[in-house]
């Protein structure tokens, strides 16, 4: 391999590390109007009267919009391929407000200070309803969160809005109770995970302008420009051709920007006023008024026979959709496909949840997308089972682990695991952590115990049979190349990875390839970067587009050099004949292709979607220190081995893994979601929502095993999401091993661990 596996620097490093204009806010035109959102103080209410007269008189205020002013077409903001499996249950502004912080009015002014001055002058009279603040009481609650008659599903997802059910899913294979009765060991437990916040460092922000053709141009910090274009087109009732969406460099996404957030407001304002406008969320809004992970309360039963075979996995959850159903179904279903297949010797499985509307901030997409949530109870329960059986928890896992070529009860018919060095990854993680030669629990001093815990995880690579990516690669008139993609580099380095794949295919050096991305006027359709799709799906489209271009280039060389193209060798920069008698560079060729009657401008174009979503695999082993007097858990070391197929860029894959593990540590130990009894999210800033700092995480050790995935290009799978999945259960197991304390609610803050220590 010439380029794959190399640790190239990210192609945008120089710009983003220099302070040059690169992000959305840096490009806001100076004459753009500022938009501020007046928000609901109530968890559930109807606006019965709204008076904007006094506010409109504030100097500098240009307009104020309420639910009376916006189009009445419902939509979803979930960034998913059409037809979205999320309910169309939103308006730009709705007369009903469904959580504390929901949008009530848009104040548009010449600057922020004028808008802020006007905001308190808007007088709103609410009819306040009893909110639904506990997902366990949501179904058939007297308050119906979505009572509107025009809520629309594109296809049945088991929803029943009149009962506060956003969607529901149940997958049962085999006879659960009969198989459980045959088991020698059955463990049963409840586990709870919170609606954690993605917390990208750059909050949500968007500006909109009108171009010289009277079209709407939206520049936004988004992972899904094409989905945004479609959402805005629907909401405003205009065609996609009237809209251009551009994504500059963005300050992180983690799924939060796979859901529309701020885009609709400047789009609406600018389209209405035909003037540029912008909105920048502050941290409070970003944490309080966007979308989060879904909180789930799990009940799990795992049964095994004494030969160590896991016969039954039964997982039933109640899931909190929050105020809207964005990603409500698919985060849950994705969780099944990325957890249960790990242990495929089962005779019966169940995976089931009602995903209910509540008056909380809506759930959405967060790295791991349901898999993180599902693997939390599953991997904790497997560890518990190993304890109950008195066997090594890795041995138990190995005994039940799916093998290449095998299927699983939770797989789709005909689906098998096509690749994966699962056992090799586990072996490597054991060696890194010295698992076989050390106790899983040890005394550090009179106050502290040490412990080791393990968890396994799958994820997917793209969304099978649904998402497909298109890539165009052109040879420019000087013989260098440009690649056009609608995928979105959000810092993970996907542009760099795609450049490496393109250069690998064409053979040229990296400095001959420029990747241009995420501008809907320019690049071909791509759903965007989510679902761990870009390196696998867009990467494969990249290879195919480059193959096509290479073929065309050789044809042209052959024509001009008057030789059979099949006799030519090509390294991306030049061709030569076997005998060396004829040679020509792309630099010499390209100008000939863009002039004269024989001009033939070359580009390769490919669209590719996969019939499968090959799972990357990860083993995580956590080493923690537990303070017996306080319950405080300190992460000491984390050993991570990932099989993401071919590693495209070693450094970037390593940093993805480190970042995912640490984000998982945050979910495991520090990041708390607390609502007040009135439904106010109290942890809506970084003072109270504690992201892990560099002193909170211990040392992260990363390595890879590289299987070869046959379905896409170059054996590649994915890495973006799988890396967040092991932290919670591995740390839970480490605490359990260290002290015997079993914590079943996230995050595992000292008070919870202390209580578990008392209860053991």
């Amino acid at each position: 391999m010439k380029h794959l596996g190399k640790s190239y620097k990210k192609t945008d490093s120089t710009t983003i590390l220099s302070g040059k204009a690169a992000y959305t806010e840096d490009f806001i035109p100076s004459n753009a109007l500022c938009i501020k959102v007046l928000r609901s103080p109530h968890a559930f209410a109807k606006i019965v009267d709204i008076n904007i007269e006094a506010a409109l008189k504030v100097p500098g205020v240009e307009a104020i919009y309420t639910y009376k002013d916006v189009p009445q077409t419902r939509f979803t903001l979930a960034g998913q391929s059409y037809p979205e499996p999320s309910a169309y249950d939103m308006l730009i502004l709705d007369q009903v407000v469904r959580y504390v912080g929901d949008e009530v009015a848009l104040v548009v002014a010449v600057d922020e200070r004028s808008a802020l001055k006007a905001m308190p002058l808007i007088k709103v009279k609410y009819e306040v309803y009893e909110p639904v603040l506990d997902m366990h009481t949501a179904i058939d609650h007297p308050s119906i969160i979505h009572a509107e008659d025009d809520l629309h599903y594109n296809f049945p997802v088991g929803g029943d809005p009149k009962r506060n059910i956003a969607c529901s899913y149940s997958h049962v294979v085999g006879d659960l109770e009969a198989e459980l009765a045959k088991c020698d060991y059955v463990v049963e437990e409840s586990y709870f995970d919170q609606a954690t916040l993605q917390s990208a460092m750059e909050t949500f922000r968007t500006f909109a302008t009108i171009d010289q053709f009277n079209r709407l141009v939206i520049t936004s910090s988004t992972q899904v420009p094409f989905h945004i274009r479609r959402h805005v087109a629907r909401a405003l009732g205009i065609s996609a051709a009237q809209i251009r969406v551009i994504k500059p460099r963005i300050g992180g996404g983690f799924g939060s920007k796979q859901t529309g957030c701020t885009e609709m407001f400047p789009a609406f304002v600018t389209w209405k006023l035909k003037k540029p406008s912008y909105i920048v969320y502050d941290r409070h809004e970003a944490n309080n008024c966007s979308t989060s992970r879904h909180a789930r309360d799990w009940k799990i039963r795992v049964g095994a026979t004494k030969d160590g075979i896991i016969q039954v996995i039964d997982m039933v959850a109640v899931s909190d959709a929050g105020a809207h159903g964005s990603h409500a179904l698919t985060t849950f279903t994705a969780g099944e496909h990325k957890s249960l297949p790990l242990y495929n010797k089962t005779k019966a499985i169940r995976y089931e949840s009602n995903v209910v509307y509540t008056n909380h901030m809506p759930g959405g997409a967060f790295r791991g997308y349901g898999a993180t949530e599902a693997l939390w109870p599953l991997e904790c329960a497997i560890t518990k089972l190993a304890h109950t059986m008195g066997v090594d928890e890795i041995e138990l896992r190995l005994k039940n682990l799916i093998g290449v070529g095998e299927t699983a009860q939770s797989f789709h018919p005909g689906e098998v695991l096509a690749s994966g060095l699962l056992k090799e990854a586990i072996q490597k993680a054991k060696e890194m952590s010295n698992w076989d030669n050390r106790p899983k629990s040890w005394k550090i001093d009179d106050r502290h115990m040490g412990g080791l815990g393990v968890a396994l995880a799958f994820q997917g690579s793209g969304i099978a049979n649904i998402d497909s990516a298109s890539v165009e690669v052109r040879m420019l008139d000087d013989g260098t190349y440009m690649l056009f993609t609608g995928s979105t580099d959000m810092g993970q380095g996907s542009n760099t990875a795609l450049a490496q794949i393109a250069c690998e295919t064409l053979g040229c050096p990296m400095d001959m390839m420029v990747v241009y991305e995420a501008d809907t006027d320019v690049v071909p359709f791509d759903p965007g970067s989510y679902a761990s799709s870009t390196t696998y799906v867009t990467g494969t489209a990249t290879k195919l587009a480059c193959d096509e271009l290479k073929e065309k280039i050789l044809q042209e060389f052959g024509r001009i050099l008057e030789v059979d193209p099949s006799t030519l060798s090509f390294d991306g920069e030049k061709v030569w004949t076997e005998d060396g008698s004829k040679t020509m560079t792309t630099k010499e060729l390209a100008p000939k292709l863009v002039s004269g009657p024989k001009g033939h401008y070359l580009s390769g174009m490919a669209t590719w979607g996969s019939q499968t979503s090959p799972p990357p695999f990860m083993v995580g082993i956590a080493e923690v220190k537990v303070d017996l007097e306080t319950g405080k858990v300190t992460p000491e070391n984390y050993y991570a081995v990932v099989d993401c197929g071919t590693v495209v860029n070693r450094n970037l894959a390593t940093v993805q893994t480190e970042g995912g593990v640490v984000q998982g540590i945050g979910m495991a130990l520090y990041e708390e979601i607390r609502y007040s009894s009135r439904g106010v999210l109290e942890t809506n800033n970084f003072m109270h929502y504690k992201l892990p700092t560099r002193l909170d995480i211990g040392n992260i050790h990363v390595d890879f095993v590289e299987s070869y995935e046959p379905t896409g290009a170059y054996g590649i799978k994915s890495i973006g999401e799988v890396v967040i999945n092991t932290s919670c259960p591995a740390i839970q197991g480490a605490i359990l091993n260290a002290t015997g304390a079993e914590v079943t609610t996230l995050p595992m803050i000292p008070e919870r661990v202390y209580k578990a220590l008392q209860n053991k």
Binding site: Y23, M201, I250, V655, G660, T693
Partner: protein, 151 residues
């Protein structure tokens, strides 16, 4: 109010709101390396130097900056480029949004404590949050940067 502000060695007259914070002033002047991440002094994205000490510009009233030397990443371009290189070689930039603020802390550290241990580096940078990297690659890059400095 109109004040005299010295940024990166250049004195200039600036028209500010009385309650304006340095973060807003600097961004208005086009110093895009200075960013807002939290409003609550937790994230460190807005880190600049006041008389050589790293401070949070989101909570530093601009009127107080009169008579003090303000330094942003743009003002230490050479060291910043070197550190940027060390970080990028590790893939430690990722989204880059928090990195410039962290770099201001790291460059201050390199000037004040060039022989800092790993634990001292972490403690010095603890006010700089990062959501992408998991911090390990920062350490690799900064070690390289500090090593290069002492050579």
């Amino acid at each position: 109010m109109e004040i005299m502000l010295q940024v990166n060695g250049v004195k200039r007259k600036v028209l500010i709101e009385t309650d304006e914070m340095l973060l807003e002033t600097l961004r208005n002047l086009g110093f895009y390396s200075v960013r807002c991440g939290c409003d609550t002094t937790n994230c460190g994205l807005c880190t600049v130097w006041v008389d050589g000490d790293p401070m949070l510009s989101c909570a530093y009233p601009t009127f107080r900056a009169v008579g003090h030397e303000i330094t942003t990443l743009e003002g230490v371009a050479e060291e910043a480029a070197h550190l940027a290189d060390c970080l990028a070689e590790e893939g430690a930039d990722q989204c880059g949004y928090c990195t410039t603020g962290m770099m201001m802390s790291a460059i201050a550290l390199s000037r004040k404590y060039p022989n800092a241990t790993d634990e001292e580096i972490k403690a010095y940078l603890n006010n700089n949050l990062c959501r992408c990297t998991g911090y390990e690659s920062h350490m690799r890059g900064i070690r390289k940067f500090l090593g290069g400095k002492t050579l």
